[in-house]
């Protein structure tokens, strides 16, 4: 028997999970074209930062969440500079190369070195590659995937070595469970709904749906209404033209990547109270996030909302009908396959096509 209230809560929970998991990736993969397989680990960094800030340093959760976002953004910045854009290794190479060339030249000039070897040394000094060593990973889909997978391995294992196999969890804020465990006076409205239900549901996780919508609204405003958003979209659409018009594209890439990372950090922070803190907690987010971004299509905010709503609804319904989350997940994944096959430009691309067609008709 499908319980309407239970179904609604399940849906809100799934919706929040999918949207929040996808929020950061929608920017990094959806906009910037980096297949970030370490996305789950970015979320993990956010969750760990929250937990450590809250438990080790005693910050209240409301402060720990922005701290975690900041930490993850900073982390994303470092990753962008060293791996994704390769700016840091290239900058280093410029000086290492100068040093090497100078050193080889001086070695060749020594009297003890025979003439033939000296010639070779000089030739070698000239041969040191002058162009940047590392090509940026932007729009190199396969390479970005492999590189970020390497990063993910390092992060998971590094965190395991550093912090051990698990951390103490942050206590759930507000009320742990709606239902019998709560005294009726605390949150009457939610409680009223759930008294009929045989299930109890974490009110915290359900309320994340509201936060998810809030996050999407902020992203929407940031990328469509601000000066930065304009520059970011210009850079991604046509880097050369944007640069010709005076946009510092390197910095824009950097900032956009950091924003995507901060959103991943926020997701981690929000889920820190409800998920066991293990180093590989991020893998639980990875698949849902990629599916949502691909199914959502090119328009980040609209697409992610609709993908979250659609996939969340399917998953919640099937879970309730069959009484097992296994089937809900299978249904979600199969729906994603069918959607990608029949709407190759995603839901938002499909909506756009329909809108254009309607405009042409009128």
């Amino acid at each position: 028997m499908v319980n309407g209230v239970n179904l609604l809560f399940q849906f809100l929970d799934n919706f929040a999970f999918i949207v929040l998991a996808a929020a950061g990736l929608a920017i990094i993969f959806g906009i910037m074209g980096v297949i970030n397989l370490a996305h789950g680990e970015f979320i993990m960094v956010g969750a760990y930062a929250t937990t450590l800030a809250n438990i080790r340093y005693g910050l209240p959760l409301i402060v720990a969440v922005p701290v975690a976002m900041f930490v993850t953004a900073l982390f994303g910045l470092v990753v962008e500079r060293t791996i994704i854009s390769g700016a840091a290794p290239n900058w280093l190479w410029k000086y290492v190369r100068m040093g090497l060339a100078g050193g080889l030249g001086r070695l060749a000039a020594l009297d003890a070195v025979p003439g033939r070897v000296a010639g070779g040394l000089e030739a070698a000094a000239e041969r040191l590659p002058e162009q940047p060593l590392v090509e940026p990973l932007y729009d190199r889909l396969a390479d970005s995937m492999v590189a970020t997978w390497g990063l993910s391995l390092i992060l998971v294992q590094g965190v395991r070595i550093w912090f051990g196999n698990s951390l103490d969890q942050v206590g759930t804020p507000v009320v742990p469970f709606v239902g019998e465990t709560v005294s009726p006076g605390e949150i009457p409205v939610l409680n009223l709904i759930v008294t009929n239900s045989e299930f109890s549901y974490s009110a915290y996780r359900v309320s994340l749906a509201v936060i998810a919508l809030g996050v999407l609204a902020v992203v929407y405003v940031l990328f469509t209404k601000t000066d930065f958003g304009m520059r970011a979209r210009a850079t991604i659409q046509d880097e050369d033209t944007a640069r010709a018009l005076g946009v510092d594209t390197g910095r824009t890439y950097m900032a956009t990547f950091a924003i995507g990372s901060a959103l991943a950090g926020l997701t981690g922070a929000l889920y820190a109270p409800t998920i066991t803190m293990v180093p590989d907690m991020g893998t639980g987010f990875l698949v849902e996030s990629f599916v949502a971004v691909v199914v959502g299509g090119p328009s980040v905010v609209l697409g992610t909302t609709m993908a979250g709503g659609f996939l969340g609804a399917i998953s919640a319904t099937v879970t309730n009908l069959m009484g097992s989350t296994f089937y809900g997940r299978i249904a979600l994944l199969l729906t994603a396959i069918v959607l990608i096959r029949f709407l190759p430009s995603g839901i938002s691309g499909f909506v756009r096509t329909i809108r254009e067609r309607r405009q042409e008709a009128t």
Binding site: I35, L37, I83, G86, P89, G119, A123, L133, V134, E135, L137, R140, L141, A142, D143, M145, V146, A147, W149, G150, L151, S152, L153, I154, V156, Q157, G158, R160, I161, T283, L286, V287, F290, V291, V294, S324, F326, R329, I330, L333, L334, A336, I337, I340, R341, F342, P344
Partner: protein
């Protein structure tokens, strides 16, 4: 370059020259690394060394190494599909797993030599059939690039989720329980049925019993897998250097242009994808027979990413790179114990992608070629920098991407 040595050297008898010519026609070409007699000499040495490994290192080590050889099939299948036809598939492990499970189910139900032979063939067909259906669904529906990757990944995860919940008794096919998360144990070893008459004939050669069981313990499985791998490698070399191989590479480089030349791009992609599925399926069968076990872990995200890692590190646009990458990395991650193993593997991946984006094997080849030319130039006393202007040397360079 070997063509000139063999042809102009005319000291060789004519049949030898003819064989060398035929060998070059079949196996040499711009799509593979190693088009010289030096390469083949090294190849023969390596194969001989690998064949003598069980004798040198013992049965246990050989049995352990056999797993990496099995993985090499998986790596090769991805190299063909991704490196040569440009289809980045995360689903090679899906075909691998489906074949492994099929082999297990059939072989447990028909545990006779002929039953196992049938299971072997049927399982490879099952992998190929799944990849055919999936490929048809994708390529004829206009799914391209990264969307193929995501769909194949999602299919793999569907299989993982599904197989993980098959623990109940209702998920028993004949005598074979699927076993859910814990997997399916007790899968029989490979066996070759030999008729009684043949046993008597082959008695002097050491064949004493029918059937011949390719057990993991005594190194017979290892030799069988290795022989199959050498044949597969040679076969794939012939394939990618054939006209069809050139069409595959054309599809990888520019689908639209290839279509303009009149090739049926979808059909090529479907054929290559199906073939890759069969090859991954072969790896799956060998895997199930090797460990007598298969579990939903073969569909997990971590395992699904392994072939991509092996092939990218080794060099995806070269069969040799995929082969060496698979074996070496599987060996390394298996041998590296301790908590830093994954950190080292991850760092290796980062370094290769950032600094050697074409892969390790092509980079080593380029370095070796550079060193060899430099040495030759020194010996013949040519002036500095003459090599790059030398047309012969330029033509000598093998194009790998």
């Amino acid at each position: 370059m070997a063509a000139e040595t063999a042809g102009s050297g005319s000291a060789l008898p004519r049949p030898v020259v003819a064989v060398v010519r035929a060998w070059q026609r079949i196996f040499h070409g711009p799509n593979t690394i190693g088009n010289s007699w030096q390469f083949w000499a090294g190849f023969a040495l390596a194969v001989a060394a690998l064949f003598s490994y069980p004798v040198l290192a013992g049965g246990y080590q050989a049995s352990r190494f056999a797993l990496f050889i099995v993985y090499a099939f998986l790596g090769l299948s991805l190299s063909v599909v991704w490196g040569y036809a440009g289809i980045l598939s995360f689903g090679q492990v899906a075909f691998f797993g489906v074949s492994g499970y099929t082999f297990g189910v059939v072989a447990l139900n028909f545990d006779t030599p002929f039953g196992i032979l049938g299971a072997f063939a049927g399982a490879v067909v099952a992998g190929a059939a799944l990849s055919f259906v999936l490929g048809y669904f994708m390529f004829y529906g206009g799914v391209r690039d990264v969307y193929v990757t995501i769909i194949t990944l999602v299919v793999t995860l569907v299989l993982e989720t599904f197989m993980s919940q098959t623990a109940g008794d209702e998920w028993t096919i004949g005598a074979a329980p699927l076993g859910g998360f814990n997997g399916m144990p007790g899968i029989p070893e490979l066996a070759v049925p030999v008729p009684g008459l043949l046993v008597q004939l082959l008695g002097p050669l050491g064949v004493e019993s029918a059937p011949i069981v390719l057990g993991a313990g005594d190194g017979t499985f290892y030799r069988f897998a290795l022989a199959l791998l050498v044949l597969t490698y040679l076969g794939l070399r012939a394939l990618v250097n054939s006209d069809y191989g050139r069409v595959m590479v054309a599809v990888r480089e520019d689908e639209d242009r290839t279509r303009m030349f009149g090739y049926d791009v979808e059909r090529v992609k479907l054929a290559v994808f199906t073939f890759g599925g069969a090859l991954a399926g072969l790896a799956g069968v060998l895997y199930a027979a090797w460990g007598n076990y298969v579990s939903p872990g073969v569909y997990a995200l971590t395992f699904a990413s392994l072939p991509v890692i092996w092939v990218s590190v080794g060099g995806r646009k070269s069969l040799l790179g995929a082969l060496v990458g698979s074996i070496a990395l599987a060996f390394a991650s298996n041998s590296l114990v301790g908590e830093w193993a994954f950190v080292i593997i991850g760092a290796l991946l980062l370094v290769v992608v950032l600094f050697l984006p074409r892969g390790f094997v092509p980079a080593v080849r380029d370095m070796a070629l550079f060193a060899w030319r430099t040495a030759r130039r020194y010996r013949s006393g040519e002036p500095e920098g003459s090599v790059s202007e030398n047309p012969e040397a330029a033509a000598d360079a093998e194009v790998t991407d």
